[in-house]
């Protein structure tokens, strides 16, 4: 089992750091899956993390100038590690001006993901910094827990309003309630509502547009064509989970979408060129 990657380009390094910082805001621990083509950051929806799950997919060649890996075996050419994204984020943040940054799997006092960087100096010699982030190697028998979650059989899919606007709305609502109802329909309308004994607040968004899931969508489920375009699908969620998602995100997605399975789950998707981040927030009764 071997892994080594090198990032030279400053923009790539910066982008990679932002993705990992975003993930670090969503979860304390997650699983990093390395394959010859991709990196995945995975959080599976366990009760311990509030039922929230996450799937973030990066294409390695968009970030790394060199990427070498050897999985546990030729048929299972993957490496699965449990990491603390905050440590990775902190390490990467301090090496933003590096000439080159290397990520490698090392065996030190324990298995580590080592981030080694060569920092520029005024003198001829370079300044080297290494951060050893302890990781736990996940045995193959547990890998099945970290597969890509299937696209849920959603009732409504809708583009999100600007995330900043949404964040501002939800930040205020959070002071009033712990739970939020997200509802949307197929004619581009979305409402964010809170409802308590004292107050009811709702914010309405319109003309958001509904992503065309089309033919390929039909085999994965997707909204049934017979659905009334004005019928709302709604899910009540923990407002902190949604807020966490909006506060932490630093990806500046080119597309942000939300799929709602009526009274089951809110599925958020951020797409940005080479990065996709999916986040599932389960319904609360």
């Amino acid at each position: 089992m071997k892994f080594r990657g090198k990032i030279i380009d400053v923009a790539c390094l910066n982008h990679f750091t932002r993705v990992i910082t975003t993930i670090s805001k969503l979860t304390k621990m997650c699983v990093l899956r390395l394959t010859p083509l991709n990196l995945f950051f995975v959080l599976s929806g366990k009760v311990a993390n509030g039922g929230v799950s996450m799937w973030c997919e990066l294409s390695q060649e968009n970030f790394f100038d060199e990427f070498q890996m050897e999985g546990v075996s030729p048929e299972d050419n993957e490496i699965c590690l449990e990491v603390t994204p905050e440590n990775l984020s902190r390490a990467l943040k301090t090496v933003q001006n590096a000439r080159a940054v290397k990520l490698k799997l090392t065996s030190k006092h324990c298995p580590c993901l080592t981030i080694a960087a060569e920092l520029p100096t005024l003198s001829s010699a370079s300044r080297l910094v290494t951060h050893d982030v302890p990781v736990e190697v996940i045995p193959r028998r547990l890998w099945h827990e970290f597969k890509e979650p299937g696209m849920p059989d959603f009732d409504v899919s809708i583009y999100l309003p600007p995330l900043k606007t949404m964040k501002n709305v939800i930040d205020r609502m959070k002071n009033l309630s712990n739970f939020l109802v997200v509802e949307a329909n197929l004619s581009g309308q979305m409402n964010l509502k809170i409802d308590t004994d004292l107050v009811s607040v709702s914010t309405h968004f319109k003309d958001l547009g509904n992503p065309p899931w089309g033919a390929e969508g039909s085999q994965q489920g997707g909204p049934s064509p017979s659905r009334d375009p004005d019928a709302m699908a709604r899910t009540r969620v923990d407002i902190r989970k949604l807020q966490q998602f909006l506060v932490g995100q630093q990806v500046n997605p080119s597309k942000a979408m939300c799929n709602i399975v009526h009274e089951r789950v809110v599925h958020l998707i951020l797409l940005h060129e080479d990065v996709s981040l999916q986040y599932f927030i389960p319904a609360v009764a």
Partner: protein, 391 residues
């Protein structure tokens, strides 16, 4: 005492007070013939800092002749006088420090633009003199660099990190975070930074060793050094004897004396390891071999952390080494500490917060002439001190 600070020196004074506030809760003020001394010490007496501003630093500096005066006060209240350095720089033209002996007040008067005058009257307590005993010139390892180098070094360590370990060889310095015990080591992120000797203005190593000390106080000094742009000198010897960090200018001198960990088995193990396997040269960075990063492991079983650790024999080796080092240290003690045996006893009676040795301390009692003018006896001074320790 009556002194006046003008122009940019007000900011220098303010920065000094801010960096002293990183050390302890009290500011010891002592106007001396060779300048105004401002000092602070932390509650466990493992860190001490002193700034001495020469008379030339002031546009006026007069002290009463023949009457030694010293006092201490809460550093927070002095910090309040110089709260915002940014506005201070823009508005304050002159700072007047005066001692009112009738009212027992130390008065800071800030003369600002537009004729605005801010007066702070601070009450103070009499105090014993605070003086750490150290001799920079006897240290075997001496380094000097622009503060930027150290600022760029500490930035890699999280703010929550308490201690760093500095190791040196003939041409390199390693700085890494110190993790207390083995259980933490498997969870904590380890950071190591390697600096080449030519990044320093001065780099002289006589003994290749490592010392571990608190980062917080170093950060405090960096605040001062960075704003004044003064180079920082670092002096250290063997583990257990204090590290001295100092900044010097024609009109001021600052010394930070920090205790180092004396009994650190990890460190010693690392030292022995380093001695037999020298660290890889820095130029392997770009073309190292991937095979060296192999994790040998069976996929169905989680690897125990012990798998990657060196076998046990070095352990016996290291303990014997520790003993000899400790013995060596003990033999060194008397020569170093002769004149402060009683203070030693005082220090050891206080509860040490850390494993750090606070042995570099001499709290010099006021001279007998001073005793008659003060209601305090030596005993009481010591008692109040150990109360500080308890807090």
């Amino acid at each position: 005492m009556d002194c006046v600070v003008t122009g940019g020196n007000v900011k220098v004074l303010a920065k000094a007070i801010h960096s002293l506030s990183r050390i302890g809760d009290e500011l010891y003020v002592e106007p001396q013939e060779d300048g105004l001394a401002l000092r602070s010490v932390n509650s466990s007496r493992s860190a001490y800092a002193c700034f001495l501003f020469a008379p030339l630093f002031f546009s006026r500096y007069t002290i009463p002749i023949g009457l030694a005066f010293r006092c201490k006060m809460a550093i927070k209240s002095v910090q309040a006088v110089f709260r915002s350095i940014a506005t201070l720089e823009k508005t304050v033209e002159k700072c007047h420090i005066e001692l009112d002996e009738q009212k027992n007040l130390l008065t800071f008067t800030l003369h600002c633009k537009h004729g605005l005058v801010k007066t702070h009257n601070l009450s103070f307590q009499d105090s014993e003199s605070l003086q750490a005993v150290f001799d920079k010139d006897s240290y075997s390892n001496v380094f000097r660099s622009h503060p930027r180098l150290l600022v760029d070094t500490v930035v890699h360590f999280p703010p929550s990190l308490e201690e760093v370990t500095v190791s040196v060889s003939d041409d390199r310095m390693w700085v890494k975070n110190h993790v207390e015990d083995e259980t933490d080591r498997s969870k904590a992120m380890l950071t190591e930074l390697c600096l080449a000797s030519d990044e320093f203005d001065h780099f002289s190593v006589q003994v290749q060793n490592s010392v571990t000390f608190c980062l917080k106080e170093l950060r405090g000094l960096l605040v001062f050094a960075e704003s004044t742009g003064l180079p920082i000198s670092m002096y250290f010897d063997e583990p257990g004897s204090p590290v001295v960090l100092s900044v010097t200018d024609s009109v001021l001198e600052g010394n930070f004396v920090l205790a180092t960990l004396s009994d650190d088995s990890n460190l010693r193990k690392n030292n022995t390891k380093r001695a037999c396997t020298p660290p890889p040269p820095p130029d392997d960075f770009m073309n190292d071999d991937m095979d060296s990063y192999l994790i040998a492991m069976d996929t169905s079983v989680m690897p125990g952390p012990s798998a990657s650790r060196p076998p046990s024999p070095p352990l016996t080796n290291s303990t014997s080494l520790k003993q000899t080092a400790a013995a060596k240290h003990r033999t060194r003690l008397p020569s170093e500490e002769e004149e402060e045996e009683e203070e030693e006893a005082v220090n050891s009676s206080g509860p040490p917060n850390k494993k750090f040795c606070s042995l570099f301390f001499g709290s010099v009692l006021p001279p007998s002439s001073q005793m008659t003018t003060q209601p305090l006896t030596g005993q009481e001074v010591l008692a109040s001190d150990s109360e500080d320790d308890v807090q």
